[in-house]
């Protein structure tokens, strides 16, 4: 290593509510270098980016910038140190103009005696937009821009740093290409290359070929750790993929041996199901005991589809049949009344009332099961909760513990208990293993197999393709709001990830 690192992370660790998001991560970025960062969802990439951007503070470890210790308390401080970030979730305020967004918090440069000179600010914003070749008026309201245009404005905002400081910059790009067209990606990469004399880049993306194309070196992360580091020229997509997943597709992991042929009877059917602006003409059948996986990227319409099936987003066309009857679900209580349960990805918001104990959370969807002559029977309710806690092996000192104090895996089991107690026939698993550690994931897979064996029908949108393929009986692939492919995923006939990806992008 001839050159000295400009940005240096040593043994950085960070945990959230018991889940180790980062474990002793060491990364260095040299001046003018583009560093690629790859890993599965939950591998810790976004946490790492947020630490560099001053959003989170690490539990332990050190950050050095240009040889000096770096302690960041806020994104603003990171900015002042010459660290800019283009976030995966867009951070622009839609009710402000493009110019106001680019210089948000920096208006001082353009003000005299507390009054902002708007012409000067707009002219400066115009210069930033020219850097990314975005021909829009800086006075446009951000809400009027397309998604891709906003992404370019984000980049322009990060690039504005170069005029603010003489120092060498570090620009973090967190999944900047996922919504861009090829032409826009070319512009982005061109800008990245042109700026290398002023800035170092950290580039996070799921698109491994892009990472290899633009980066000098690549770090591979898995389960919060850096598992490999190599020059981009010395590796290839399959190798990166193998390192990210950490093993070949592992049949045992997903309990494939326990996968049984589902019953013939249909519990749910969609015919030409359409929700304006989200998805169209979706057909599928769900049989008793079947796990139906839906694959697709963000914007494919699969998220909206699952929300339709639980009454959050009523469909606008086509036909949905549940248990033989045509239905249109306009609120979750209607879905619940039909025996549908929902395990949300936002477990801590939509899954559980965190500030309440386990007992009322388990009976929240089925209070009638513990009522007699119009009154809740406290002792019966408690016994019921205790039996679920025992059956699902929820690790807690007592059923009176607040859900707040449970680990992610145990919280997920309480959510499942809630729907099992409500005798749901169909469960919608929306990213059920998000944020769970490996052991907890396996327990969830185990439970899903058991439920399926007992005749529960499951609709699954998973975090990874591996999960979708491993767990499902059949798979629906969606792209741009339409179903692009269907796969049989019986044991032995499971499709490969590349087969699915071809229909996803």
């Amino acid at each position: 290593m001839a050159e000295k690192a400009f940005l240096n992370l040593t043994d950085v660790s960070k945990a959230f509510a018991g889940v180790q998001a980062l474990a002793q991560v060491c990364i260095e970025v040299r001046p003018g270098e583009v560093v690629g960062l790859v890993g599965e969802n939950g591998a810790g990439k976004s946490t790492l980016m947020r630490i560099l951007a001053g959003v989170y503070r690490p539990d332990s470890g050190t950050l050095l910038l240009d040889g000096r210790p770096l302690v960041l308390h806020s994104p603003r401080e990171a900015n002042l140190q010459g660290i800019g970030i283009v976030f995966q979730e867009q951070s622009l305020l839609p009710n402000l103009t493009v110019a106001e967004n680019i210089y948000l918090g920096q208006e001082k440069e353009f003000s005299r005696w507390g009054v902002i000179s708007w012409p000067a600010l707009r002219a400066a914003a115009k210069r930033q937009l020219e850097k990314v070749q975005l021909p829009i008026d800086p006075a446009t309201r951000t809400a009027h821009l397309s998604f891709a245009e906003r992404q370019m404005v984000e980049l322009a905002k990060a690039l504005a740093l170069e005029e603010r400081t003489e120092r060498h910059l570090v620009i973090l790009l967190d999944e900047p290409t996922s919504v861009l067209e090829q032409r826009e990606i070319d512009i982005l990469f061109e800008r990245v290359r042109a700026l290398r004399n002023r800035a170092s880049f950290v580039f996070v993306s799921h698109r491994l070929d892009e990472v290899l194309h633009i980066s000098d070196r690549v770090y591979v992360m898995k389960d919060g750790k850096v598992v490999a580091q190599m020059p981009a020229a010395e590796t290839n997509v399959p190798e990166l993929h193998r390192l990210m997943v950490g093993r070949e597709l592992h049949a045992e992991y997903y309990r494939e041996a326990r996968q049984r042929e589902p019953a013939k009877s249909l519990v749910m059917q969609a015919e030409s199901l359409t929700s304006e602006g989200a998805y169209r003409n979706v057909d599928f059948v769900l049989r008793q005991g079947e796990i139906l996986g839906i694959a697709g990227v963000i914007g494919s319409g699969r998220e909206a589809l699952t929300r339709t099936l639980f009454g959050f987003l009523p469909h606008s066309g086509g036909k949905l049949t549940v248990a033989g009857k045509p239905v249109r679900l306009t609120s979750p209580d209607q879905a619940a009344a039909l025996g549908i349960g929902y395990i949300p990805r936002e477990r801590r918001v939509e899954g559980l009332v965190l500030a309440l104990p386990i007992v009322p959370n388990i009976t929240l969807a089925s209070l009638a099961t513990v009522m007699k002559r119009g009154a809740i029977q406290g002792s019966k309710e408690r016994q019921l909760a205790e039996s679920w806690v025992e059956k699902l092996r929820v690790r807690t000192p007592s059923v009176d513990a607040l859900c707040l104090n449970l680990s992610g895996g145990n919280q997920q089991k309480v959510v499942l208990s809630k729907w099992m107690n409500a005798r749901s026939k169909i469960l919608i698993f929306d990213h059920p293993t998000r944020g769970l550690d490996v052991g907890a994931k396996e327990e969830v897979y185990d439970l899903m197999r058991t439920l399926s064996e007992q005749g529960m029908s499951i609709i699954l949108t998973a975090d990874t393709l591996e999960e979708t393929i491993g767990l499902s009986h059949s798979i629906l692939v969606m792209r741009d709001g339409e179903v692009t492919a269907r796969f049989d995923a019986s044991p032995g006939k499971k499709p490969a990830q590349v087969d699915l990806i071809r229909h996803m992008v």
Binding site: F312, P332, V353, A355, L356, L364, L367, K418
Partner: protein, 317 residues
């Protein structure tokens, strides 16, 4: 860490009761007559109306909302009773309470249908009722004549040596505690206040229970107005004008979180007693009666500041 947290929460839960006992003892030392049976009974009876007013809005606050129309409902109910009792007899009472029930229901429906913040909706209904009461009473206090007063005996009378208002308050307390512990309404109120998205996503008809809470709040505010008319022997469009602040203070001082999700009517009973005793204490040390609202304002802000759990709210608007 968990144990320590629970310990702190228990202390926090008991704090209102300890404050109440402390205040009673302090005043008892300063003015020994205060601790006599008769004096305590009078204090409790004086608390009853404030408590009933506050009790109704307790469920609303538990949901994380607020009802600012209770004092207007209370005053209007007193006007209805005073105006109708001589001519129509006992039907005046159910009419007054029904007015509160309907007002609360309407506020609740607007709140959930139009998704307007509860403080705005109830501020609007409050204005509406204030005007209605002024027009209805021709801007005057209506005193109730002898014939009418005879029909108020159930308010002014005693039973087993205690004033009837205390029995009414006790009944409200018992029903409130029962419904919180044993009915789906009580359970869902807490759940909605503590985590509305999860409660909704569990198939609970959140809007229905919100409307019920506002309806109860309106009905109990009207009941408080009925009792006030009985005790005062008159109804007036400004009768309850000074009661909104002490009533909300009673709910919060008792330990129901202003952000929702924790608390109960039993706590509001303690809170209302604290407010009354603070008022007695102020009179005792010679605070001008018109300056007392200053003290209630300060008490309210302090109580919220001490009880609010800032870890659960990111942004305060």
């Amino acid at each position: 860490m968990t144990l320590k947290r629970n310990y702190r929460e228990q202390i926090r839960g008991l704090a209102p009761l300890l404050v109440l006992v402390g205040l009673v003892l302090v005043i008892g030392v300063l003015r020994p007559g205060f601790l006599s049976w008769d004096s305590l009974v009078v204090t409790v009876a004086n608390t009853a109306i404030l408590f009933i007013l506050a009790a109704g809005s307790t469920f609303v606050v538990m949901l994380g909302s607020i009802d600012l129309s209770i004092q207007a409902i209370c005053s209007f109910a007193s006007v209805i009773v005073a105006a109708m009792l001589p001519g129509y007899g006992y039907v005046a009472f159910p009419v007054a309470v029904a007015m509160g029930l309907v007002t609360g229901t309407v506020s609740g429906l607007f709140h959930v249908w139009l998704r307007i913040p509860s403080f705005i909706v109830t501020l609007a209904t409050s204005g509406l009722l204030v005007s209605a009461a002024l027009l209805f009473s021709h801007e005057r206090a209506i005193s109730i004549d002898e014939a009418g007063r005879a029909r108020l005996a159930w308010v002014t009378g005693d039973f087993l040596g205690l004033p009837n208002v205390i029995w009414v308050a006790a009944l409200v307390t018992a029903l409130g505690i029962w419904s919180q512990k044993y009915t789906p309404f009580g359970r869902y109120s807490i759940a909605i206040g503590a985590g509305e998205p999860a409660t909704w996503a569990s198939g609970v008809r959140v809007n229905r229970y919100k409307v019920i809470a506002f309806a109860i709040s309106g009905a109990l505010a009207a009941l408080a107005g009925v009792l006030m008319a009985g005790r005062e022997g008159s109804g007036s469009p400004t009768l309850a004008d000074q009661l909104l602040l002490p009533a909300i203070a009673a709910v919060i001082v008792g330990g129901t979180a202003i952000t929702g999700g924790a608390g109960g009517i039993g706590r509001t009973a303690v809170g209302a007693l604290i407010i009354t005793i603070v008022r007695v204490g102020m009179t005792f040390i010679g605070v001008d009666i018109f300056a007392q609202q200053i003290v209630f304002g300060v008490v309210l802000v302090l109580a919220v500041a001490l009880t609010i759990d800032r870890t659960k709210i990111v942004i305060v608007k």
